[in-house]
Subunit: 476 residues, 2 copies
Amino acid sequence: MDPDEFRRHAHELVDWMADYLDRVSDLPVTPGMVPGDIARRLPSSPPEQGERFEQLFADFQSLVLPGMTHWNHPGWFAYFPGNNSPPSILAEMLTATLGAQCMSWATSPAATELEQVTLDWLRRMLGLPETFVGVIQDTASTATLVALLSARERASGYSAGEHGMADSGKLTVYASAQAHSSVTKGVRLAGYGLDQLRLIPVDAAFAMRPDALAHAVSADLASGFRPACVVATVGTTSSTAVDPLHSISEVCRPHGIWLHVDAAYAGTAAIVPELRHYFDGMEQADSLVLNPHKWMLVNFDCSAYYVRDRDALLRTFQLTPEYLRTEHDDKVVNYRDWGIQLGRRFRALKLWFVIRSYGVEGLRALVRKHVALARELAQWIEATPGFELVAPVPFGLVCFRYCPAGLGEAAIDEINRRLLAQVNQTRRVYLTHTELNGRYVIRLVIGQRQTEREHVQAAWRLVQEAAANLKPRAVG
Amino acid sequence: MDPDEFRRHAHELVDWMADYLDRVSDLPVTPGMVPGDIARRLPSSPPEQGERFEQLFADFQSLVLPGMTHWNHPGWFAYFPGNNSPPSILAEMLTATLGAQCMSWATSPAATELEQVTLDWLRRMLGLPETFVGVIQDTASTATLVALLSARERASGYSAGEHGMADSGKLTVYASAQAHSSVTKGVRLAGYGLDQLRLIPVDAAFAMRPDALAHAVSADLASGFRPACVVATVGTTSSTAVDPLHSISEVCRPHGIWLHVDAAYAGTAAIVPELRHYFDGMEQADSLVLNPHKWMLVNFDCSAYYVRDRDALLRTFQLTPEYLRTEHDDKVVNYRDWGIQLGRRFRALKLWFVIRSYGVEGLRALVRKHVALARELAQWIEATPGFELVAPVPFGLVCFRYCPAGLGEAAIDEINRRLLAQVNQTRRVYLTHTELNGRYVIRLVIGQRQTEREHVQAAWRLVQEAAANLKPRAVG
């Protein structure tokens, strides 16, 4: 494909892209597919000869697009949001064109310095002290693993990576019973072992109980374990519960335990003054992760990881073979030493474009809109007989269930399963579920750029209609 | 930014992008920057109010672009290549617009099934048996860590992740002394500990000596260690040496040692029949990584990881909390369970576009062109008095040094350092260096889409001119 063909096809794509962003609300939010539907329509072998782009693009539209779930649909209320936005897409176009791999300062000074500056902007927006330095990781799972590895190294006196964990004693990790699965996964991968993960009980609002944490730490110390890391969450996945950072940090400090704050979803809310109190105490953390790709209009992937002890990070990840050595290594940041991967995309550009396009006020306005809508929906639910709000609503997530009078808990679970399936079958909205206190709960999260009051109203109407149509089934 | 503004700006960008791809060869390949040059020109605080895109794009051109290293410049001979191509950029435009996060089949069936189909195409292209299944990882560093973790779990009877490495005995890892730094880093991160990494001596061609490997494994077994993983490399970073996979696999098999093949750069060459012999034995591996983003015209990041024991992979990484459970989990591939990250970009689209646009023959032709150019350059070097070829040239990398008569080794190192600096200071080409047999060596790798014979000739001319201008300095 020569530059002129590229130009022509790229212009065609831009018109399609602009139309798509405009009409995405008219598409079904989820595809009506069963497993294998797409694979069976694709040839099992690659073509020997090149094909025309017209054919590829036609196949994209007829085969791929109908099999996509539209994360930027205003009816997206599932999981947590995965945002994008026009300025972010524009940045991705430039990033792809430059095709730079930004492992070192030398392999693209602008990419490194823009990442430093943009993450320092974000640090100010969040109200984090200057002692924190930032790096973009791909996902919060990776960032949390980075924190667990740094904590492992610091707690073992930097012996685990050097001499192996077999010689490092039993290091323990603490997180609430509501913590994200990436904590469990990270504890496995980092070699602590699940046996050394203490899932701390939560209070009625699903937040970690600092007294229970203190008790677990004391018990472990008494038994010869070495507490290495506490992962506290602001905005848990199931219910956006807020672990009390101040009290937790007070448990950590005397023992030098690494405190990692997982604010993957909710972290963006820290830029809003009236929501900032949920994050009080985060300045006591050793590390923090939040995902601008979740709620700050930046395309996936863009996960901001802040760390206070830069030395602990570097001692865990730094490694400079001769073929990567450059003239300026002692004067620059080489972000390859700040995480797991050597290779790095130029991800700062999209964050820079988004912050500048919307301004901090524009981003605050977005969060405020979503939180206000979520709280309004919560009021509607509370005012509706037969429905029950299951958790507080500090941010954009509303957890609820349908509880028609006279049903037992198992029957309520079953009817909510059917309710969710019916609502999603309309393909006009996409909601997901979780489990809280052992019960099936519907999650509706408001966080998409194009989601307005009318979309939330429509979703709530669909839920009510489905409920009205449901007859409870006998459940054993 | 509303859809019409997006449309307008995106069209402007497309013209810039097409021009850039066309004129990149006229730009200096590297920026003339000192640390801090870019950061000091950026405001230290983010804007409160949004700015116009015109301003952002102007700043991109005046501040960012001059600070970029142009990885797709035909004068790029540094590190290993990081490719992109018009069809890959077009795919990235669509991926960014869809903004889908593809952690599960349900969160985008088309993304999952396209990944399955495209990686099976690539498997056929490489001549890997059907027993291998593939997944796209972000980088080879991650893929190698995934292999080391899977090996750790299998060797420990899936006890390390569960009960911790403190209880799993001393697991050992083997790689050649020329293996990539990501192996060393992975051994640290996975908790084996560097003390348990055996760097196996290499032969005169910098390839792992299987007899030395066998000896190390025997010695460890005799001392009560448990050999878990061998990482063999096809195409090492310093010199593209080829470890003998057949003989290595014979050492691994009797002890059930996981054999991971790092073919990050060279793997693409396996699609070329006359180069396929370098990969003989890879069908005996447990896992393999190659980077289509290095030498197959696909934008970074796209690292193809193949594994034979899918069960070992899943037992290491799978975890399904209630909020991620979906209706089809028992019938589909959920790629979130195939690696470290939960969130995943839709990376199969660019691989699909590239394979279809060029066809397998088109991709083979690219590799053949680069390899032929590298071998031609090697001949020029061998025919030039005062220059020395330092390693065999199986693929696109040529390792050489300038050795004027009468200089000692330290003086030769020093003069090659100065030679490389002088060549790179022209900013018309970008070469890097490494160390082989303890000596400073210049690396020139031919692998960019737009690199032709004239560019290699020009680079070689620059090297010769710089050599002619250099006077040896006194070295202590």
